[in-house]
């Protein structure tokens, strides 16, 4: 189960100087489509009794989301955290995560969100499947296990498709296809008891430093524009309430807002 921690959607701020997303000092959450994927993983665990391992790549502040995942019912978590990963775009990220998954090993199903709310590429899931050379289904809203295979309902532009693939495989999950559960008291106690989150460096996994980081990322950010709203007129209608309201109504009529 791959998750990313992102700035909360309603708190998104773009630094006016660097034109990049502010990530420090803003409230964060589990990338919402990843939370939907986690819910599917936990439902499969409830039904089939599997082990759910959550994987993320980023700074140690991502522990917050890994702890939440375990609180919700995941069994353990791995955070791939290393300074040399800084600035990685989707190409090194898919590579680094696939190496980490290979090291964790023993997987039947890899789940990812369809995309992240902070970058919206949707590259990483398919990238991991490519590196591991396993089948994949993207944009799924439902996942079942039947006859040793995965059946996933994929959202297409003009309807839905049911895909059946052999395990191990990777599925990316639609945003909003379910309601992710809340963390439980027992889950939060497991977090507090400790020993459920492992921190791995690139060296721990055997990731090639020459394939990760900003320098090894092909993406070039040419320009980021901020949409600016036109300034408001900010007219005040002061005075006696009845009179002020009368003048406000007149002004709205004059502007054609009211008939």
């Amino acid at each position: 189960m791959c998750i990313k921690q992102v700035p909360k959607a309603e708190e998104l701020q773009v630094d006016p100087k660097t034109q990049t997303l502010k990530r420090v000092g803003v409230p964060s959450e589990i990338n919402p489509p990843d939370a939907n994927a986690l819910e599917i993983a936990l439902q499969l665990k409830d039904r089939h009794g599997s082990e759910v391992v959550v994987l993320s790549m980023g700074p140690t502040s991502f522990d917050e989301s890994l702890e939440r995942s375990i609180g919700m019912g995941a069994d353990r978590a791995v955070l791939l955290t290393d300074r040399i990963l800084g600035g990685s775009d989707t190409v090194p990220t898919a590579y680094a995560l696939s190496e980490t998954i290979a090291k964790i090993g023993g997987y039947d199903l890899i789940l990812c969100g369809e995309e992240t709310t902070d970058a919206s590429t949707g590259h990483v899931g398919p990238g991991i499947a490519g590196h591991l050379d396993i089948p994949q289904v993207t944009y799924a809203s439902e996942v079942r296990v039947a006859d040793g295979r995965i059946r996933a309902r994929r959202t297409a532009e003009d309807g839905t498709e049911w895909w059946e693939v052999r395990m191990p495989c990777l599925v990316t999950v639609n945003f909003g296809c379910n309601g992710p559960r809340q963390p439980t008291l027992s889950g939060k106690i497991r977090v507090k008891r400790g020993g459920v989150i492992a921190h791995w460096s690139c060296a721990d996994v055997g990731i090639d430093p020459k394939k990760v980081g900003l320098l090894n990322s092909p993406t070039i950010v040419a320009k980021v524009d901020t949409v600016r709203l036109p300034p408001r007129a900010g007219k005040f209608f002061a005075g006696e309430p009845a009179d002020a309201v009368r003048r406000l109504l007149e002004a709205l009529r004059a502007d054609g807002v009211l008939p």
Binding site: Q182, P183, T184, L185, S186, K188, I189, R193
Partner: protein
């Protein structure tokens, strides 16, 4: 396999954190569960804490306790629409040693005390509401939350505050009656520290605790309070919920009138209201107490009705902390006696008495009833201010002697002399 602890404490307010800290220190594996995102986010109080139980629970408290200001001046005011008559008390001995009291902010104070509980070995979990007690054959053996998530324990300490549902679910208390609770509201008004020091005439670490009667609650049973923090003033009211609904008054309106009173306005003008909160306050003291123990369960703090309002002091947090410490002492005694049965946990009564929690509650048990006398909140403040006005106003129209003034007011028919005497006597006895 369900998670298990020796003890589970529900609510990380002063009672819960003190209980968890004391239990952990006595060797109980302890879980402290808080509904809010962090301790201190779901509760409120007026603003002052009497320090005495901290000497037992956190002996080194003065080192890092988030004190806003030490209370070095006590004040009591009677208000009419446009006048105020006050009594203030200042003494070098006030607030020294075990008698110290200080203003505090719950979000920082409760977080501090919960941290101390964690440091003592308790496990703190936040953001979880306990929905029910886990019961097996009549005995409490853990808690239930989030549907059917069960965590087991030999002892559950209910420290959920005034509106506790678990106390009712445990069968320790009937539903709350309107007469058993008041409504408390509080505004936090931000002001620069220098402004506070200048307006209140206090030093950098000194502060004021003031109570207001009369027009503060527009004659409804209850009163106002004001506490100075470092860079803000806590201003609020505690008013009978019965009176509010009978007179169809909104407490926000009352609070606005209170804030706009000239005697208050000059203290807080230019400030920004940064926070508005409201909560129920248990009001009947000793007469509303639930059963304090059951098999595998014990009640502490506001949930047990441990609150004293005798008109000049409001005490809740200190009784809560002391009851938390008493709970742990009782748990240890019960463990030594062979288990957490109600009979063994009865040691709680003695532990509370030792800390004067129940003794003080009983001593002031009549105060809430006395304070239900409506004349105290309307007639007498007006009377006092009227007399004061005649005493101090010199306009050449001739002056009366003080005794004549009082007698004249008493004769005027507002209040029969005998009634006044009886009220005074009842007041003296209940305070």
């Amino acid at each position: 396999m369900a998670e298990r602890f020796d003890a589970i404490v529900v609510g990380a307010g002063p009672a819960g954190s003190a209980a968890a800290l004391s239990l952990a220190r006595r060797g109980f594996s302890t879980l402290l569960v808080e509904r809010g995102r962090a301790p201190g986010t779901k509760n409120m109080f007026g603003g002052r804490i009497y320090a005495w139980p901290l000497f037992e629970v956190v002996p080194e408290w003065a080192k890092d306790c988030p004190v806003e200001r030490s209370v070095t001046r006590e004040a009591m005011y009677f208000l009419t629409e446009d006048a105020s008559l006050g009594i203030t008390f200042e003494s070098a001995r006030l607030g020294q040693g075990r008698g110290a009291s200080f203003t505090a902010v719950r979000s920082t104070f409760d977080a501090w005390l919960a941290k101390k509980a964690e440091a003592a070995g308790a496990t703190l979990v936040t953001g979880i509401r306990v929905d029910d007690l886990w019961r097996e054959s009549g005995r409490v053996c853990g808690v239930v939350s989030g549907g059917d998530d069960r965590v087991g324990a030999d002892l559950v300490v209910i420290a959920e505050g005034a509106t506790s549902t678990l106390v009712r679910r445990a069968g320790l208390k009937a539903d709350l009656e309107p007469r058993e609770v008041s409504v408390g509201v509080k505004e936090t008004i931000e002001l620069p520290p220098e402004t506070i020091q200048e307006r209140f005439g206090v030093g950098e670490s000194e502060g004021v605790a003031a109570v207001y009667a009369g027009h503060a609650s527009r004659g409804l049973r209850g009163g106002g309070f004001l506490y100075t923090n470092k860079a803000s003033v806590s201003l609020g009211l505690v008013v009978s919920s019965e009176d509010l609904s009978a007179r169809k008054v909104s407490i926000e309106d009352l609070q606005t009138t209170f804030r706009m009173h000239p005697a208050i306005q000059r203290l807080v003008s230019g400030g920004t209201v940064v926070e508005y909160s409201a909560h129920l306050v248990p009001e009947l003291g000793a007469t509303m107490r639930p059963e304090l123990v059951g098999d595998g369960v014990l009640v502490a703090g506001d949930a047990a009705g441990f609150l004293i309002n005798n008109g000049y002091t409001f005490r809740g947090v200190d009784l809560a902390i002391a009851s938390g410490a008493a709970a742990a002492e009782a748990a240890e005694a019960a463990r030594a006696a062979g288990g957490m049965s109600a009979a063994n946990l009865a040691a709680y009564e003695a532990a509370l008495r030792k800390r004067n929690v129940t003794t003080d509650l009983e001593r002031f048990a009549r105060a809430p009833l006395y304070l239900k006398n409506a004349r105290l909140f309307d007639l007498y403040p007006r009377l006092l201010i009227d007399v004061a006005e005649r005493m101090y106003r010199v306009d050449g129209s001739g002056k009366d002697r003080l005794a004549d003034l009082v007698l004249e007011r008493a004769k005027s028919g507002d209040v029969p002399k005998l009634r006044l005497l009886l009220d005074l006597l009842a007041g003296a006895r209940s305070m």
